[in-house]
């Protein structure tokens, strides 16, 4: 009986997320801020170095990451860097309020179904994927602290320089 219980506990842990070195799963989602059914695809950013950031309004570290990602995008955008943020909030209004408090200029898409974070198998919030120009994931960044910015910038510079 106990074994049976333990087995059930272990069951969901089997699903591992996408790792560095794998191709980024395709993504096609509606833009959050547009208010229209405009769809944004990851494929449209092919040829650019992309930081794909999964976030939610209730996630504390996301509030730290947004200004830093905005800064990185401003600085490295001309060299071919782009940020694509995927919101996973259940309530859209929460996400919009967050964006009013922490405004960003990079595209923000929304997945209310949880299909995209599931296909990426994200281990926690926030999780970022650094994707190179050919669509391969180079770095999986979980969580976010203020001090993470410098290391992330170095990684982006490395991938940009290839």
């Amino acid at each position: 009986m106990l074994l049976c219980l333990l087995g059930l506990l272990a069951l969901p842990a089997g699903a591992a997320g996408v790792q560095a070195g794998q191709a980024a799963p395709p993504l096609s989602l509606p833009l959050l801020s547009a208010g229209s059914p405009a769809v944004f695809t990851l494929a449209s950013l092919q040829g650019k170095v992309v930081y794909l950031d999964f976030w939610a309004s209730w996630c504390g570290p996301c509030r730290v990451s947004f200004p830093q990602l905005e800064q990185l995008r401003r600085e490295l955008g001309p060299r071919g860097f782009e940020v694509l943020a995927v919101n996973v909030d259940e309530v859209e209004a929460d996400a919009l309020r967050f964006l009013q408090e922490v405004p960003v200029t990079y595209p923000v898409v929304r997945d209310a179904t949880g299909e995209t974070p599931r296909s990426y198998g994200i281990p926690g919030m926030p999780t970022g994927f650094l994707i190179d120009r050919s669509g391969v994931i180079r770095l999986v960044h979980q969580g976010y602290r203020k001090s993470d910015g410098a290391a992330l910038r170095a990684s982006i510079m490395e991938v940009l320089g290839e």
Partner: protein, 69 residues
């Protein structure tokens, strides 16, 4: 037979168990879902408690030792 019925019942109950995925924790992240919804209130309570009980510590917060409370 009775034992089997109990096992089956427990298994049936377990099918209601669900792992909450990292991106589904919006409700769990709400203030009213925290063990300590208000850190300031918690700290005040700890202060009052340690003062009234003439003991300090054990609250998971730094404090005590100076004998000034």
């Amino acid at each position: 037979m009775k034992q089997l019925a109990i096992y089956l019942f427990v298994l049936l109950c377990l099918s209601g168990c669900e792992t909450v995925q990292p991106w589904e924790r919006g409700t769990l992240a709400k203030r009213e879902m925290q063990w300590q919804p208000d850190p300031m209130e918690t700290s005040l309570q700890a202060q009052v408690n340690s003062s009234k009980e003439a003991s300090s510590g054990g609250q998971g917060a730094a404090g005590g030792g100076c004998g000034c409370n």
